[in-house]
C-alpha cells in the first residue's frame, strides 16, 4: 500500500521528521517500508502556462506548435509531440533554463526551423508517477496560468508499505498516522467527521441483514443534491500521489475516504436502485442458486449460497465487500446516492474472493479482519466531505447488523509484560506506549485494565499488549540475554547423529555431498535402481508439473541426474552421495519416511576399473556399518532391476536387508544420458546405524608371534568367496585369528572353468608359539571346508 507523507502530516505533526526517519520507525515497528519515492519534489521552477494557440508543425505528422502564455508575458512558441493539447489547456511548462526533478536540463531548441521555448511536460517527466500518455492537463479548479507548479503539487514523498496480515488497521493514512503518533510521541489529529443534521424530506431507507455473523454492521446513508463534479484539488492530488486515477467526484471521494480512514465504501446511484420506492429496502443476504449479477468491471458473475450479496428490493446490487453492480453504478448525471459503509465476515470474503478470482481494495481490507467500528467513521467522513465539497445534503439513514460490542478490556499486570520482554518496566513505562497508541489504560490495583483502540482487532490478550509495548519502545531497547540452563540436555543429545556420521564417512572416502528436491518425475524414477521394489509412488494432488509431480522413493535418480549434469559440463569423474528422507506409501496410513544414503561413482573408463570402484564402494559400506555401530555386513549377489546382471549385491547386516550395491545397467545409464560405468549403492540408515553407544569391547594386544600360512586353491570360475570365508569362520578353528584373500588368479593355466584363490591364514596361540604341525593341521581343515563348500582343490 502507498501512503503520502504530506497526507499523513495532516493527522500527525511530521515537522522536522525526514521521510527516511519515518520509514525506519515504521519498518522497525512492523509496517515495513519497502521504498520511499519523491513525488512532485523540485517543481518550483516549472510554471503553469495556458495554451492560447495550437497548430500542426508543417511537414510533421506528430509535432504540434503551441503558443503558451503566462499573465503579463509575451506568449512563446513551444513544440510538443503530445496530441492531448487544446486551446485553453493549463499545462506545466518547463522554460529554458529549468532543471526538471528527474535530472533533465531544459534549453532552447531548434526543431524544423522553429525555436522551441522549453517543454510541456508529462506526469513522469515531473516525477509525478509513471504516466506518459500525454502532457499533464491541469484543472482550472487547481491551477491558474503563471503559478509555479509547486503550488499545485507541493513536495511530497510516497511510502510503499508492506502491511502485516493482522494489521488491517494500518491499511489507511489514519492507521499509519496512529502508528507514527505513538512512535514519535506526537499528538494524533483525527479526520474531521462532523456532519450536519439530517434533512427529513425525500426517500427513506430500511436495512435488513439476514445474519450478523456474515455482516456485523451495515450503515446506509442517503445523500441528495450531490453533484458529480470533480473532487477538490487536494483530494485528486493525494489520490494521484498514491497512484489512484480520478474517476469523478463521488467515486474519488469514496476512494479518498477508504485510503484515509481505511473503511471501504460503496456508492449506489439512488435512482438506479430498483425498484424505486418511497422506502428503499436494502438487504444483505446469501446469493441464490441461479442468480447472477453484472458487475462494474463488465463481468457477469454467478451467485450461490456461499456468496454474500447486497440487495435493493431483493434484487442483487453488489457482491458484498467485493464489487458493485453495473446497473446501480454512479454516473456523470448522478444526483442522489446511497452510501454503504459496512463490515463483512472476513473468512466468507476470503473464500468468495478466491472462488471468483477477484481481489479489490475493499475485499483485501475486509478479509484481514477490518474493525466493524470503522464503518461509522468512514460514513461520517464521506458525509462531511460530500456536504462540504460536492454540495450534498444528508438525508435519512439506516443501520443493520448487531449492536457493536465495545472493545473488551484486557487485564494485565505490568510485571507480566516485563517478564515477557525481559525488561524491568514500571507501570508508567508500560502504560505510556499503550496510551500513545490510543489505548485506554486504567490502574486496577497491582494490575491494569487496558482497552485497545476499537480499530485494533489484533490486540486481545496480555501477550498482545507486551508486543505493543515492545515494538513502540523499540526492540533495540531490550537487553540481549541468554536463558539459563536449568537441566542438562538428554544424554542421547551427545551421540553423533547418523546423518552427520554418514556424511563424514562418505566425504572422507572422496564422495561429495549432493542435495536434490524431493519431488521427482515418476517415469524417470521408475527407470532408476531403488532399494524399494515395486511400490506405487505418492503423488501430489496439485503438482507444479509432471516433472515435479511425485515424491521420491529413492535417491539414485537424483544422483543419476546430477551425474549427467556434471558429465555434460566436462566433469568425467563424478563421485557424489546424497542423504535424505524418501517416501513410501502405506495406503491410508502415514507414509513411511526412511532415511537413506545413496552413493554414485562414475568414470568414463575401462571395465576393470568399474570393478575396483565397486569394491571401494563396498569397502566403504562395510566400514560405515562398523563405525556406525551397525555390525558386520554381508554382500549377497543378486539380480536387481536396473543393475548389472552379475554386478549387484544386497547389503545385509545381521538378519536385515539394509541396501543394494552394484553397477548401473547400461540401458539405464543410457536412459539418463550418462557415459561410462556407474557404480552405485543405496542404503537405508534408520534402524541400522546406532552411533554413540557405550564403548565396545577391546582386548590387550597379544605378545606371542603369529603363524602366517598361505593357501592356494583352484575353484570353479563362479565360486563365491563370501560364503566360502563364512564357512571357514563357522568352522571355529582354534587360534585362527584371520582368514583373508590375498590374490585371485583368473588366467587359464588352471584349466577351463577354474580360477585360483590364495588365502592367507593367521593363527596365534595366546601363550606360546604354534608349531608347524599345528599350522599344517589348520591348513588341512580349511582346505576340507573349501572342498565341501566350493569344490576347491589345492594347487
Amino acid at each position: 500500500m502507498r501512503v503520502s507523507h504530506e497526507w499523513l502530516g495532516e493527522m500527525v505533526d511530521l515537522e522536522g521528521v525526514e521521510p527516511a526517519r519515518a520509514a525506519e520507525l515504521l519498518t522497525l515497528s512492523g509496517t515495513e517500508v519497502e521504498k520511499v519515492t519523491a513525488y512532485g519534489v523540485g517543481l518550483d521552477q516549472v510554471v503553469v502556462g495556458e495554451v492560447i494557440g495550437l497548430r500542426r508543425v508543417e511537414g510533421s505528422h506528430h509535432l504540434f506548435l503551441a503558443h503558451v502564455a503566462t499573465p503579463g508575458q509575451e506568449p512563446r512558441e513551444v513544440i510538443c509531440g503530445a496530441d492531448n493539447l487544446f486551446v485553453g489547456a493549463l499545462v506545466p511548462w518547463a522554460r529554458p533554463g529549468t532543471s526538471l526533478p528527474i535530472g533533465v536540463e531544459i534549453g532552447r531548441k531548434r526543431l524544423r526551423g522553429i525555436w522551441s521555448e522549453g517543454m510541456l511536460c508529462a506526469p513522469d517527466e515531473l516525477g509525478l508517477g509513471s504516466e506518459h500518455d500525454g502532457v499533464l492537463i491541469l484543472s482550472p479548479h487547481d491551477a491558474e496560468a503563471g503559478m509555479p507548479l509547486d503550488r499545485v503539487y507541493p513536495p511530497d514523498h510516497v511510502y510503499e508499505l508492506e502491511v502485516l496480515s493482522n494489521r488491517a488497521d494500518c491499511l489507511s493514512h489514519w492507521g499509519v498516522a496512529r502508528e507514527l503518533s505513538a512512535l514519535l510521541s506526537r499528538p494524533l489529529r483525527d479526520p474531521d467527521v462532523s456532519r450536519p443534521a439530517r434533512s427529513a424530506s425525500g426517500p427513506t431507507v430500511r436495512v435488513t441483514v439476514d445474519s450478523s455473523a456474515d455482516c456485523p454492521v451495515y450503515l446506509a446513508e442517503i445523500l441528495t443534491g450531490i453533484g458529480n463534479t470533480p473532487a477538490p484539488a487536494f483530494i485528486r492530488r493525494r489520490l494521484a500521489a498514491i497512484g489512484q486515477r480520478s474517476l469523478g467526484g463521488i467515486v474519488d471521494l469514496a476512494n479518498y475516504v477508504m485510503f484515509e480512514v481505511g473503511q471501504p465504501l460503496h456508492t449506489f446511484d439512488l435512482n438506479r436502485l430498483s425498484p424505486p420506492e418511497k422506502e428503499l429496502a436494502v438487504g444483505v443476504r446469501r446469493g441464490r442458486q441461479g442468480e447472477s449479477i453484472a458487475c462494474l468491471d463488465g463481468v457477469t458473475r454467478e451467485l450461490d449460497p456461499e456468496t454474500l450479496v447486497v440487495t435493493a428490493g431483493d434484487a442483487p446490487q453488489a457482491v458484498a465487500g467485493l464489487i458493485g453492480g453495473e446497473a446501480s453504478a454512479v454516473g456523470a448525471d448522478t444526483g442522489e446516492v446511497l452510501l454503504e459503509a459496512a463490515n463483512f465476515n472476513w473468512a466468507r470474503l476470503r473464500s468468495t474472493s478466491r472462488r471468483l478470482r477477484l481481489r479489490t481494495e475493499a475485499s483485501s481490507r475486509f478479509e484481514r479482519q477490518l474493525s466493524p467500528h470503522l464503518a461509522r467513521a468512514g460514513a461520517d467522513r464521506f458525509i462531511h466531505l460530500a456536504v462540504r465539497h460536492l454540495g450534498a445534503t444528508l438525508g435519512p439513514g439506516a443501520e443493520g447488523g448487531a449492536p457493536l460490542a465495545p472493545a473488551a478490556a484486557i487485564r494485565c499486570a505490568p510485571r507480566r509484560i516485563s517478564s515477557i520482554l525481559g525488561m524491568q518496566l514500571s507501570s508508567e513505562a508500560v502504560a505510556n506506549p499503550l496510551r500513545r497508541l490510543q489505548f485506554e489504560v486504567r490502574e486496577a490495583g497491582p494490575e491494569m485494565l487496558v482497552t485497545p483502540s476499537p480499530y485494533r482487532t489484533d490486540v486481545t490478550t496480555a501477550v498482545d499488549l507486551a508486543e505493543e509495548v515492545g515494538r513502540i519502545i523499540g526492540y533495540q531497547e531490550v537487553p540481549g540475554t541468554l536463558p539459563p540452563i536449568h537441566q542438562a540436555p538428554p544424554l542421547e543429545a551427545l551421540a553423533e547423529p547418523v546423518a552427520r556420521l554418514a556424511s563424514a564417512a562418505c566425504r572422507a572416502a572422496g564422495f561429495s555431498e549432493a542435495l536434490s528436491l524431493s519431488l521427482v518425475s515418476r517415469e524417470r524414477e521408475e527407470l532408476a535402481p531403488r532399494l524399494i521394489g515395486d511400490l506405487a509412488h505418492l503423488e501430489l494432488a496439485n503438482p507444479l508439473s509432471a516433472q515435479l509431480g511425485s515424491l521420491r522413493q529413492g535417491l539414485l535418480q537424483g544422483l543419476l541426474l546430477s551425474a549427467h549434469h556434471n558429465q555434460a559440463r566436462g566433469q568425467d569423474r563424478v563421485r557424489l552421495f546424497e542423504q535424505g528422507a524418501v517416501f513410501w506409501a502405506r495406503g491410508q496410513e502415514r507414509p513411511e519416511e526412511p532415511w537413506m544414503v545413496a552413493l554414485l561413482d562414475l568414470a568414463d573408463d575401462s571395465p576393470e576399473d568399474g570393478v575396483s570402484r565397486l569394491r571401494h564402494l563396498m569397502a566403504l559400506i562395510a566400514s560405515l556399518s562398523r563405525v556406525g555401530g551397525g555390525g558386520a555386513v554381508e554382500f549377497r549377489p543378486v539380480t536387481w532391476r536396473a543393475l548389472h546382471r552379475t554386478r549387484a549385491a544386497e547389503v545385509w547386516a545381521g538378519a536385515e536387508l539394509r541396501g543394494i550395491v552394484g553397477e548401473v545397467a547400461q540401458p539405464v545409464a543410457d536412459a539418463f544420458d550418462v557415459r561410462g560405468r556407474v557404480e552405485v549403492a543405496e542404503l537405508r540408515l534408520d534402524g541400522w546405524l546406532k552411533p554413540g553407544g557405550l564403548p565396545g569391547h577391546a582386548a590387550p594386544l597379544p605378545r606371542t608371534p603369529a603363524l602366517v600360512l598361505d593357501l592356494s586353491v583352484a575353484v570353479p570360475t563362479r565360486a563365491l568367496l563370501g560364503p566360502a570365508l563364512q564357512a571357514v569362520s563357522a568352522l571355529g578353528l582354534p587360534w585362527l585369528e584371520l582368514v583373508m584373500p590375498i590374490d585371485e588368479y583368473l588366467g587359464d593355466q588352471l584349466g577351463p572353468g577354474l580360477k585360483g584363490w590364495t588365502l592367507r591364514l593367521r593363527l596365534r596361540h595366546p601363550e606360546r608359539t604354534l608349531t608347524t604341525a599345528e599350522g599344517d593341521a589348520a591348513r588341512q581343515a580349511v582346505l576340507r571346508v573349501l572342498e565341501l563348500e566350493v569344490g576347491a582343490k589345492a594347487r
Binding site: 515497528s29 566425504r507 572416502a509 561429495s512
Partner: protein, 344 residues
C-alpha cells in the same frame, strides 16, 4: 721397513682412496692395503716382531696411527660414494612434483548441508539438541495447532502441496514448525531443540525460489524465558554465522504462532547498508523469523503458559548460503555441480 717407508705407503694408499670412483674400486684399494692376509700395510705390521725391541715402540705407534688414518679415510670415502650412488638412483626416478594432481582426496560438503551442520554446532554450544520430524504432515500439525485455522490469512504465504488422494489428509510440510509441536507433545519442558529439514511450498522455480528448500527451526521452552533471551540467542547465532562485525536489527513482525513476533535482518554485505540490487535497495537482508511462542501454541503442545514460556525461530539455510557465498540463483544449490561443491 722403517717408519718412513710406512709413511710413504700410507700416502700412496690415501691417494688411491681418494681416486677410487666406485664402491667396487674402493673395496679393491682396501684389500690391497688392509687385506687381512696380504694387505701391504697389514704385512708391514707383521714385520714388527722382526724389529729390535728399542725400535718396536716407535714403529708400533706409527703403525697404529697409519692404519687408523687409512680406515677412517676408507670409511669417509665409502660414505661419500654410497651417497652418490643413491643420488644417481633417485635421479633416475624423477617425477614432476609440480604436477597439480587431482586424485581422490576428501569429498566436499554441500553448501546448505554444511551450513546446517554449522548452525547445529553453534546451537549445540548453547545446549540445543538437533532433532528431526516427518516431512509429510497433516493439517493439524502444520497449521491448526500452530494457531492457523482454515481460512487464516497467514496461510496465504504457505502455498501448500497436498498429497493425492486429498481425502487421506497428507501434505508436504510448509515449515519445520510442526516439529515444535511434536517435540512439546513428546516431552515436558525444559526443551531446547534445533530442527533442520526440508519443507516445500508451491512456488515455481526461479532465481529466488525452489519448490523444496530447507529450514532450521529452533525452540526453547523453560521457566521464565524472555524476549531478551531470544534477542541474545539470535544475536549470538547471527554473529557466529555472519561475523562479529555484522550489524543486526530486530524488527516487529507477525506470525500466528508467536507473540510478540520479530524478524531479524543483517546489514547487506554487498552495499554495507546503502542499498543495492541484492537487498532490493533496503540496505538490510531478512534472514529469520522468530518470536515468543504463542500461549495458545504452548497450550496445544501440553505446556502451561502460566508457568512456562518459550521462544522459537526459523531460518532458511538456502538463502543464507546464497548470501554468504555470493551466489545468484537458489536453483544452483540443487544442481550438484561439482565445480560449485568443490568450493566447500
Amino acid at each position: 721397513m722403517t717408519p718412513v717407508d710406512l709413511q710413504e705407503l700410507t700416502a700412496m694408499a690415501l691417494e688411491e682412496i681418494a681416486r677410487a670412483d666406485s664402491l667396487e674400486r674402493l673395496d679393491e684399494v682396501r684389500l690391497r692395503y688392509l687385506g687381512r692376509r696380504d694387505g701391504l700395510v697389514t704385512l708391514a705390521g707383521q714385520r714388527l716382531r722382526e724389529l729390535a725391541p728399542e725400535e718396536r715402540a716407535s714403529f708400533g705407534q706409527e703403525f697404529n696411527r697409519a692404519s687408523g688414518q687409512l680406515r677412517s679415510a676408507l670409511e669417509a670415502r665409502q660414505r661419500q660414494l654410497a651417497a652418490g650412488e643413491e643420488e644417481q638412483r633417485e635421479d633416475g626416478e624423477w617425477v614432476d612434483m609440480s604436477h597439480p594432481f587431482r586424485g581422490p582426496g576428501q569429498g566436499h560438503s554441500h553448501p546448505v548441508a554444511g551450513l546446517i551442520r554449522e548452525i547445529e554446532d553453534i546451537f549445540a554450544f548453547l545446549g540445543y539438541q538437533s532433532v528431526a520430524g516427518p516431512e509429510l504432515e497433516d493439517d493439524q500439525h502444520n497449521f491448526q495447532l500452530l494457531n492457523m485455522p482454515p481460512e487464516h490469512p497467514a496461510r496465504d504465504s504457505h502455498d501448500t502441496f497436498y498429497l493425492s488422494p486429498p481425502a487421506y489428509g497428507w501434505l508436504y510440510r510448509t515449515h519445520t514448525s510442526p516439529v515444535q509441536m511434536r517435540a512439546m507433545l513428546a516431552s515436558p519442558p525444559p526443551l531446547r531443540i534445533i530442527v533442520p529439514g526440508k519443507v516445500a511450498r508451491r512456488d515455481n522455480p526461479d532465481p529466488t525460489h525452489t519448490p523444496v528448500f530447507h529450514q532450521v527451526e529452533g525452540l526453547c521452552v523453560d521457566r521464565g524465558v524472555t524476549l531478551g533471551d531470544l534477542k541474545g540467542t539470535l544475536e549470538y547465532a547471527i554473529r557466529a554465522l555472519f561475523g562479529r562485525e555484522r550489524r543486526v536489527r530486530l524488527r516487529a513482525s507477525f506470525f500466528p504462532y508467536t507473540e510478540p513476533s520479530l524478524e531479524a535482518d543483517v546489514a547487506c554485505a554487498v552495499c554495507q547498508g546503502s542499498g543495492c540490487r541484492t537487498c532490493l535497495q533496503k540496505g538490510w537482508i531478512e534472514i529469520l523469523g522468530s518470536g515468543m511462542v504463542h500461549p495458545a501454541v504452548l497450550r496445544n503442545g501440553g505446556v502451561d503458559p502460566e508457568s512456562h514460556s518459550g521462544f522459537a525461530f526459523g531460518m532458511g539455510p538456502d538463502r543464507i548460503a546464497v548470501l554468504r557465498y555470493g551466489l545468484s540463483d537458489l536453483r544452483d544449490l540443487y544442481e550438484n555441480d561439482l565445480r560449485l561443491l568443490e568450493c566447500f
